[in-house]
């Protein structure tokens, strides 16, 4: 990784969106008569993006839908121009954006391959030499002389991928190719990308398939909301991405209500070493620190928690009253700690709810339902979510 082949400096991409409908001559004239920007609004799909990719490096790009991944790739590919900033690339580039690489439906597979080669600036002579290996890789021997409009979407993708790799570029840009195609072809693609990597080529890959991208990337760029959320070691990036998606998953289920006499101001989880985390393994210890704020003194409050599955169904709940832990009163800011000694749950994402209410259950001071997500990893096989130690005898 001596030399950078892709350098992205302060990239920003703004789209000017019309508030409604298409842009026509009439609307353009009307807009120019109005005050500037009244019928348009600016949307920054990407802002302040800085990173570089070294020669021979594979960079995975992850992020939720709409994070700007595809826009970033099309800026690097040169199909869109950045609004601000600068992108430099070195070497030949082959890209597979949104699949199909610009095939014309009326031309045959073979003609499209030659066209694609010409677009990438590869001499036709070379392209004709490579066409056999392209056809072979795409497994399209029978159909190569048919117009591509008769192709199935799988065939289309296979041909697109085959062209993109077989032209042997220095840099390969791939947008979500692994999502389409059957398992066998996906395996073949991954194998090809590995081969590509071993040959010291540079790759940029967008994928939602986190396991695969973690395996084939040297580093991962995590985009969120048009900004770099993080760039670095694949495993830690995938973890922070998963943690973000869990936060987002709570959105629809999250509820908050109560009188507010005591307020739960936050909660954080840590493992047995006291390290903050939201990922736990089977049998781990979980410490939760629940912060509260009580403007006036409240006597005998009861703190409770519940764990729900990702659909919001409660699978376990408990509180200080049940456990006979008496809190005489609370006033001002403070926190209570909850410890679960031994997490015995099946693999998956769970949501914590925390509540504080009066000892007679008549007043709910504050409840935060399904607000704090955690992930549990487990290989223990059993039915349901919650394990209960049990014994068999005959």
């Amino acid at each position: 990784m001596s030399e950078n082949v892709i350098t992205v400096e302060n990239i920003g991409k703004m789209f000017r969106l019309k508030k409604s409908g298409y842009r026509t001559l009439k609307s353009a004239i009307l807009d120019s008569l109005r005050f500037r920007g009244s019928a348009m609004h600016d949307f920054w799909a990407l802002k302040d993006i800085n990173f570089s990719v070294g020669k021979g490096e594979s960079l995975g790009i992850i992020g939720i839908n709409g994070a700007g991944k595809s826009t970033l790739l099309s800026l690097i590919a040169g199909t869109k121009q950045p609004t601000e900033g600068r992108i430099q690339t070195k070497g030949s580039m082959s890209c597979l954006l949104e699949l199909g690489a610009g095939f014309h439906p009326d031309l045959t597979g073979r003609e499209n391959v030659l066209l694609a080669g010409a677009i990438m600036g590869i001499p036709q002579v070379q392209m004709r030499q490579r066409i056999d290996s392209i056809i072979e890789f795409a497994e399209l021997q029978e159909f190569i002389d048919q117009p591509v409009k008769h192709y199935s979407s799988g065939m289309y993708v296979r041909l697109g991928f085959a062209v993109a790799v077989e032209v042997n570029p220095d840099i390969l840009l791939i947008d979500e190719v692994l999502a389409v195609g059957d398992a066998a072809f996906q395996r073949k693609c991954i194998q090809k990308m590995d081969e590509f990597r071993q040959n010291g080529k540079t790759m940029l890959i967008i994928s939602h398939d986190l396991r695969t991208i973690q395996a084939i990337s040297d580093r991962i760029l995590f985009l969120n909301d048009g900004k770099v959320f993080g760039i670095g070691d694949p495993q830690s990036m995938v973890h922070s991405y998963e943690s973000l998606s869990r936060q987002l998953a709570t959105r629809g289920l999250r509820r908050e209500w109560g009188t507010g006499e005591v307020k739960i101001t936050g909660a954080e989880f840590s493992d047995k070493n006291g390290k903050l985390t939201d990922r736990f393994r089977w049998g781990d210890l979980l410490d939760a620190k629940i912060s509260y704020d009580a403007p006036k003194m409240i006597k005998n409050p009861v703190f409770g928690f519940a764990i729900s599955d990702s659909n919001g169904r409660i699978i376990y709940g408990n509180n200080t009253q049940i456990e006979k832990y008496d809190i005489p009163s609370v006033q001002g800011k403070g926190y209570v700690c909850l410890r679960i000694d031994n997490i015995q749950m099946s693999r998956g994402n769970y949501l914590f709810s925390f509540s504080v209410h009066s000892s007679d259950h008549k007043v709910n001071y504050h409840r935060l339902d399904n607000t704090f997500p955690i992930a549990v990893e487990s290989d223990k096989p059993f039915e349901g979510f919650c394990y209960m130690p049990c014994h068999w005898k005959k």
Partner: protein, 262 residues
């Protein structure tokens, strides 16, 4: 401007393939295929011959078909240029290459058709024994018309990316342009009345239409005698080349935004 020539020369193969593709797609699903390029002008000459005979239309046939064939070249380019960019949206959004290749290859594909029509026309003219003028100047005229067509195609293909009204506006403009150009009439036939209406400036106005001078030049080369306004052809040629330069500059400025709009 220089960038354009650099882009075009470094992508010769792509250009060639796109020209072939444009021609191929035009004749897909047709039995006679490429033969239509030759049959078209032959039928055109026959039909106008019958029409002129029946209608007692005051114009000689060689002059009329020369006008029609040259006009058709422009009209085809204009019509096709609407889709030169938006019809190739899948290429523009998925691959990076000089966008100017798209309208250029479209105009060149039409040029191939036009040259073949020209051959048919010249054979016809030889058969009817017209007295040719300085045929050596023909390439100059063709290249000038090519520049005009390309300039206009660059403007129209760009406008249609941003405003889809272009298509409707264009059909109206083309109709008006057709009648402002001496295609189905002779310049000498309208000029006396025009001069009477707007004075001596009429000639300059008439020849500031680039197609007027181009048609006049074609007729001068093919049918040497009886051509009105030959000394004003230079105005039309100059306008053609100015439109070409405007087209190139306009296109190069706008092309960065194609990827966003499509």
């Amino acid at each position: 401007m220089f960038k354009m020539f650099k882009d075009l020369s470094s992508h010769k193969e792509l250009m060639l393939i796109l020209v072939q593709r444009n021609i191929k797609i035009r004749y897909k699903n047709s039995v006679l295929g490429f033969l239509w390029t030759l049959l078209g002008p032959i039928f055109l000459i026959c039909i106008y011959a019958i029409f002129l005979n029946l209608m007692k239309f005051d114009m000689n046939l060689p002059s009329l078909v020369t006008g029609i064939i040259a006009w058709q070249f422009l009209a085809m380019c204009m019509g096709d240029s609407l889709h030169a960019i938006i019809g190739n949206a899948n290429l523009v959004t998925k691959a990076s290459f000089p966008r100017i290749i798209l309208p250029t290859s479209m105009v060149l594909a039409n040029t191939v058709n036009f040259l073949l029509s020209m051959i048919v026309l010249i054979i016809y003219l030889i058969i009817v024994k017209v007295s040719f003028g300085p045929l050596i100047l023909l390439p100059v005229i063709i290249i000038t018309q090519l520049a005009l067509c390309l300039g206009m195609a660059l403007i129209i293909s760009t406008l249609n990316v941003f405003f889809r009204d272009t298509e409707h506006v264009l059909s109206t403009i083309m109709l008006a342009w057709f009648f402002l150009t001496p295609v189905i009439y002779e310049t000498g036939y309208v000029m006396p009345r025009a001069t009477e209406l707007i004075g001596p400036a009429a000639y300059f106005l008439f020849f500031s239409n680039p197609m007027t001078g181009i048609l006049t030049a074609y007729r001068a080369v093919f049918m040497s005698s009886g051509i009105t306004g030959l000394h004003l052809v230079g105005i039309s040629f100059a306008v053609s080349w100015v439109l070409f330069v405007i087209g190139v500059i306009f296109f190069q400025k706008a092309q960065a935004r194609f990827g966003d709009e499509l």
